[in-house]
Amino acid sequence: MSTAAATETKPAPPAIEKIKVKVDGREIEVPKLSPDHTGKLVPTTMIQATEAAKTDVPHYCYHPKLPVAGNCRMCLVEFGTPALGPDRKPVMNPDGTPKIAKSPRPAIGCATPISPGMEIYTKTPSVKQMREGVLESLLINHPLDCPICDQAGECKLQEYSVDYGQSASRFVEAKVHKPKAVDLGPRIMLDAERCILCTRCIRFTKDVAGDDALGIVNRGSYNTIATFPGLRFDNNYTLNTVDICPVGALTSKDFRFQMRVWFLKETKSVCTSCATGCNVLISSREEKIYRYTPRENDGVNGPWMCDAGRLNYKWIQREDRLKDVLVRGEKSSWTVALSEIADKLKQAPAGSVAIVASARQTNEELWLLSKLKAKLGAISDSVPRVGKGDNLLVDEDKNPNTNGARLTGMSFTEMGINLSKIAAGIARGEIKMLIVFGEDLLMNSVSGAKLREKELTSEVVSEHGITAELLGKLDTLIVSDILPNATAKYAHYVLPGCAHAEKRGSFTNRDGRVQKFMQAIQPKGDARAEWDFLHDLVYNVTGKNGFLTIEGLFNEMAKDVPAFNGLTWAGLGDNGVTVKI
């Protein structure tokens, strides 16, 4: 999981000896040892060598982040090793090259270690014939109803059928029938007939998630994936089995039959449900989000993510989203609201303004707020948000950008320490203006019933002294948020903001990894990305112009914030860059 991130800061490991092998006649150099699914160095396998040679070897059960099972037999290849004479010395060909003794038996690429001088053959007629044989075996008892299968379009069986399948089946016997639409757990459905018994799901939940929940019952062709009788497949990582299932056997109850995958647009993004910042792909079509899937990043989440984070997207599509700019409760426009706010801020005496910024905002937005804060001499903080963590991916800190709030100076090592000071300032009448971004100050705790409504996310905001009575005492309350909340009801200005899926920006995760995310869908109504209108506001208040693009803004921020020095938007790449926190 996060082992790769940890190793980034460690000194480079000693160089691994390289050995030369040939893949389909082309010589390549590969490390003698390669990391296994746990990161431990073990002898490099033939499939890793073919991968290094950019030669595709089809496979179902092999997954680089799971223990090797070797059961699908799709990656069978032929190979040879340098021939040894009776004197145990290599035998040479007349042209001086080592003579290769071809193995009479094929071997599975996923489990067979390479040796110096080995030759791997992936394109011989007999390799092709073996793949065809395996594929035929997999298909004889498989329903041939791709048009109604949810996996169609991202199915390995479909893909390899194009490469190694026959146009007609010679199978004339009756197919084996197995249970369909099996309710394995709260989020997973199983179609046992579609299952090719690669056991990826079993290995994932046992060896990665640490929940030995799945197994195989029956024998031979009747083998079926199942849970222990009476038990449910229910841990916080079950939906990863849907991702790694090469066929349509395991489907997500949330996503199944909602949308054909080829219609979906995939946008690189980051999960906002906790400080881990798992990399995700947002699948959307026509301004609607259909699913999140993990995007592989070995420095953060590997190829996995938790179910809670994965399903935490429906709020983006809620009907009651804040869509209008409100000035004293009346619908207004951005121009009016922003110029009024700017005027008020310009006239505000030092010390009369406080800012509560959310650690769910992006680095860029927090930095823009820090510019306001500096100009106004304001007091600021963010609201800590804590929940349950685990030892795999889920962090106790439910804010995605705690480190961003700290590095930009909007909050401090102990987040929330200033909230009681702000409350006291309001009570004493010193603080007359309060700017609140992305937080409902009146939400002190969440009841159990409401927790369930929030689709598996459990978060508790720590208590602070800012009450409704205090909010009522303010001269000006400016609130920007995405969903309606109690604080906004007291606001003089309500500025509708955007979910991360509706804008671009970056977060700094728990390890200090700065990761950018892209826009998947358009904002709702009049809502605008916070960095976009904050940029206008900062210009109006400070008179300093920034950049109108997120790239320029990020690069400007990187020059200004010491921790981000040297970063560029482009340089973040898809996987982010770790900074010192």
Partner: protein
């Protein structure tokens, strides 16, 4: 004249011979163990010392003993692969999951002379520094498990097992583990998984060679019952003397399970290679010939997974005559019953179970029966065997239930060809496909004729050929 040579079976069928320890001791039991424990370190010419354990291992290597379970792999070589430097405990497992159809030799030893096995195991464990050993016994042998447990208790009571065996300082205990009735548990890595309490899915090799990563990921030796009994006799006789039994590279004795349509089916111990298949079937001391009025049709020489021989089949074998290599044509019945000759003839002696079929046998039905067994017993771990074994069985079921096609013979071979030859994790792939390949190759006309007859009948009945079998496979459709 071929004769039985009773080494392992010496006493067990004698009147009055009982499986208890007192009877075993009266017949010289545990003398070999005492001899083994009394071996002193020996000085070698190169100045090193050979420990008693090394001496026994060398003797077993010298004896040329080959595994009696099925593969016929050299026992001494197998023991030499054991990783003795890992610092992990070494385990020994006795494979008593005798389940190859046609085989019934190990159960005789277990039921009638369990102490012979236990003595062989203790010596083998001593020779390999094993402190804990298991007997994995087939689930369908409850009596055998009971007898073994009783025998182990007797041995413990006499300090032949447990701490400080016979004052030698050597500790060993042996446990009996009963299988739950799966053929695949006889595959050594499947057995190990089962013993660990898991589903008996054979392990991939590499990396899980039992000699290095076996039971609980520790070095492990898995030997057949008969093989372990032989170790006792090697210690008694000395490896060199044992090697004089049988024929070169096929040393010692083997217990042959003879079944099928012979007059005297049963188990016969012979010196390996000192009797031919024909003698085993026809000689009055062995099978005593076929039933009167019947002719030989086919012989499966090594348990149901071995490739079948057709009566009258001839093989060209390389033989040494007066020190020269000569190629000789040998009739199937004149094949010496040993490891190498049968391999040279394209089959194997396997678990040394000879299944004899006379001319009353419908060869298609016979293969359907074998195939159904393998379809039922495939563990289902890897694709070619899981799907192929049932496919072949379904086809043969159709062919034996009036729904055959002329083309089914070729169809069967094409299915079978996709399974063996290293495409599967374990040798079950070969076990299920070899019978189909060999039966169809050698009796193709019968398969074609059956299919043709079905086609003709359907045409006469004006029934269109069906594309799917209408025959309900109740016996297989039931999940286990």
């Amino acid at each position: 004249m071929p004769q039985e040579f009773k080494l392992i079976l010496k006493h067990l069928d004698n009147p009055g011979y009982t499986p208890d320890i007192e009877c075993y001791l009266r017949h010289g039991g545990y003398d070999a163990l005492k001899k083994a424990l009394a071996i002193q370190p020996k000085d070698l010419p190169d100045g090193k010392k050979a420990s008693p354990q090394e001496q026994i291992r060398d003797d077993v290597k010298l004896s040329g003993l080959r595994g009696r379970g099925g593969a016929g792999f050299s026992c001494g070589l197998k023991w030499s692969f054991v990783d003795r430097r890992s610092g992990k405990p070494i385990y020994l497992i006795c494979n008593a999951d005798e389940s190859e159809p046609g085989t019934f030799k190990d159960r005789q030893i277990i039921h009638k002379d369990p102490h012979q096995l236990i003595e062989g195991m203790i010596i083998s464990c001593f020779a390999n520094d094993v402190k804990l050993a298991y007997i994995y016994i087939r689930g369908e042998m409850p009596l055998g498990a009971k007898l073994l447990n009783k025998a182990l208790a007797e041995a413990r009571a006499k300090n032949l097992l447990g701490k400080n065996i016979l004052g030698s300082g050597y500790d060993l205990d042996i446990h009996v583990h009963r299988g739950a009735g799966a053929y695949i548990c006889g595959e050594e890595t499947g057995l190990i998984e089962s013993l660990e309490g898991k589903r008996p899915y054979p392990r991939i090799k590499p990396p899980y060679f039992p000699a290095v990563l076996g039971l609980y990921m520790c070095p492990t030796i898995v030997n057949n019952v008969e093989t372990l009994c032989n170790v006792k006799h090697i210690v008694t006789m000395g490896g060199a003397e044992f090697a004089k039994l049988g024929t070169p590279n096929n040393t010692g004795t083997r217990i042959v399970s003879l079944s099928g349509q012979v007059k005297r089916p049963g188990y016969y111990e012979i010196e390996v290679g000192k009797a031919t298949i024909g003698q085993l079937i026809n000689d009055p001391v062995f099978g005593g010939g076929l039933r009167d009025g019947h002719k030989l049709k086919a012989v499966i020489p090594g348990g149901s997974s071995a490739k079948v021989f057709k009566a009258g089949e001839k093989f060209k074998l390389k033989r040494k005559v007066d020190g020269k290599d000569v190629e000789q044509e040998v009739d199937m019945l004149d094949l010496p019953y040993d490891f190498d000759s049968l391999i040279a003839a394209g089959s194997m002696s396997g678990s040394s179970a000879i299944i004899v079929m006379d001319d009353s046998v419908d060869i298609v039905e016979a293969l359907a029966n074998i195939s159904e067994f393998y379809a039922h017993e495939s563990c289902g771990q890897c694709t070619p065997c899981r799907e192929g074994s049932l496919w072949m069985s379904k086809t043969l079921h159709r062919l034996t239930h009036g729904e055959g096609r002329k083309s089914d013979a070729d169809y069967l071979v094409k299915i079978a060809d996709n399974i063996p030859g290293g495409r599967t994790i374990c040798a079950f792939g070969e076990a299920c496909s070899w019978p189909v390949q060999s039966f169809v190759a050698k009796f193709k006309d019968e398969f074609v004729a059956k299919g043709a007859a079905d086609e003709e009948r359907r045409a006469n009945e004006k029934i269109q050929p069906k594309t799917a079998t209408p025959v309900e496979r109740k016996e297989l459709a039931t999940a286990h």
